[in-house]
Symmetry: C2
Subunit: 339 residues, 2 copies
């Protein structure tokens, strides 16, 4: 674990005939150096192949300018796209990104945040739905508040109850769009395959759906399973085994919708002839499945980029929140109900 060679800043300083302090100021673009001298030092550094030691910088300077990103599960396309957006935007700004994942375990988020804090990253972005119950958000909120007092920047994607910068998809409106589409087609008996009920994302989308269904006299049945393809399969089977006759099913995310399609196919039911299916998110693949999925598109990558933008903005004044729009993408999986 040794680094035999490695030119240090003092080497650069010596070679440039200036003091260590001046070299440091020149490299960090600080004030107190004449422009020409700074330029000279930088040239020398370049020639010597000087690479700053981030640890030393972090130790001396406090937090270091890099971004820690906590995602639920990078294997999930939804989060992978968010991460992609973060990475792109961050690399534009020359910030490195450290990704950790909570493995779909909300409690693990706190652990990850602590780990990030211990690494003294300058910013933390948390991507993932929060709890509906504010009380459950409290521990994370406390940790983040403490972190902010130390100068850390924080942004969350998709959770409201934290008093920090946030970028929020309009899940309620997306729910309304999907529901309106379905009722407009004539569906009156609809099954909803939901994710874990305690999550914001789930309850917001569900509320959006319900606000339309209730006022249209739709008979809706809700089952809750894990927010995955398997959850979609299980949910579909549970719903149908219960004997609830539905003409349409909406899964609260596309991963589940994929499961729904699969389960329906296995049961010999045709989509959309026998039953329509709709989802949320518009992850990359749903346009290629058969039938192509109708879904409410959420701009995942853009949300990631916006989170970085929030963090990078000069002043850490009042927490700001950005609301993202959605777009209903109608494809082949939805049609008028049979008979």
């Amino acid at each position: 674990m040794k680094q035999p060679d490695a030119t240090r800043l003092v080497d650069v300083a010596a070679a440039a005939g200036v003091s260590l302090a001046t070299a440091s100021r020149a490299m960090t673009g600080g004030t107190g150096v004449s422009d020409e001298l700074a330029e000279h030092v930088r040239a020398i550094a370049e020639r010597l192949g000087y690479v700053p030691n981030l640890h030393a910088r972090g130790l001396a300077g406090g937090l270091v300018s890099s971004i820690g990103l906590v995602v639920h599960e990078i294997g999930d396309p939804y989060f992978a796209e968010i991460a992609s957006g973060v990475l792109h935007r961050a690399s534009l700004a020359g910030q490195s990104v450290q990704i950790t994942h909570a493995d779909r375990d909300p409690r693990s988020e706190l652990t990850q945040v602590n780990a990030l804090m211990m690494q003294r990253v300058g910013s933390i972005i948390i991507a993932g739905s929060g709890y509906t119950d504010p009380a459950l958000e409290a521990p994370l909120g406390d940790a983040l508040a403490q972190y902010r007092t130390r100068g850390g920047r924080v942004a969350v994607i998709g959770r409201h109850h934290l008093d920090v910068d946030a970028v929020l998809p309009d899940n309620h409106a997306a729910g309304v769009s999907v529901a309106t589409h379905l009722t407009g087609l004539g569906h009156r008996r609809i099954g909803v395959i939901a994710g874990p009920l305690g999550l914001n994302t789930v309850s917001d989308r569900l509320d959006g759906l319900r606000s339309v269904f209730d006022s249209t006299g739709v008979h809706v049945t809700v089952v809750s399973h894990s927010f995955t393809r398997e959850g979609g399969i299980d949910g579909t089977n549970a719903l149908l085994d219960r004997g609830s006759p539905v003409t349409a099913m909406v899964a609260l995310n596309d991963a589940m919708a994929l499961g729904v399609l699969r389960a329906l196919r296995q049961r010999g039911m045709r989509v959309p002839e026998d039953v329509s299916v709709a989802g949320f998110d518009d992850i990359a693949v749903v346009s290629d499945v058969a039938p192509a999925l109708t879904t409410a598109r959420i701009p995942m990558a853009e949300m990631g980029a916006q989170a970085v933008a929030l963090i990078l903005r000069a002043e850490a004044d009042e927490p700001r929140r950005i609301s993202m729009g959605h777009e209903l993408i109608v494809r082949a999986s939805t049609a008028a109900p049979p008979d």
Copy 2:
């Protein structure tokens, strides 16, 4: 950028009534402390909510125990799954992972590796195909060699020409499997949609295919496009516009295969009735598309996990290479040729 409070190791030492050195040894699990004293110190640290400062550790100790992962593009399911494998295995070992991406630009890999080295990460994993031409691998090889002399650990996924730990999918064998499957079905005119020809992954898979095709008297046409869904679409159109009549098409990865299916559909050609389609990788979604894709499964997540295992192994002796198997998954997209 200040951290007002933050309990330091000396605080822990004081509270435990030991010296700073002893406290350090107790926390890092080093030798030279009695087990009971170490346990005592750790208890105090826990109670005080002590969080080690990674920068200080890195500065004092040289490299820090975390993993830097360079991927071509996390948006790509292939790399996302590899990353997922790395993350899982690393979190088991308590190592944090820093992900950077090369944005599909091989030259950018070197940049990323340099950035990682500047952060003094203890290990670097590079996921992505290398160049067929060893000369093009040289710069990266040099940087990595230097890094290793400083005590850094390196593993690459899917590239042979570097003298470091490597986990390699058996692309050649996978090519043979796919080709054998197709010729066994009776296909004699086959189109291949390849990715960039200079890449290992591409040439290995292509060689595997060719070794079978050549000995079976198959008439094969190869076109090369980008390794993406769009590349698959363009490749298919190019191939078909050229007027080469084929009864089967194999895309050198699933992303391209998805594009092939799409392009074929747009041209009104049925799969597999008019033309069979096969891919490589078995990314999560290809079992849900229509028709479900026949593909040579590569264990992406497992490869990521293995790379971490290589890096974590105690002794950094001779570079080791692990070869991963593949599995031909026959689904609905391949069938006997028409007439």
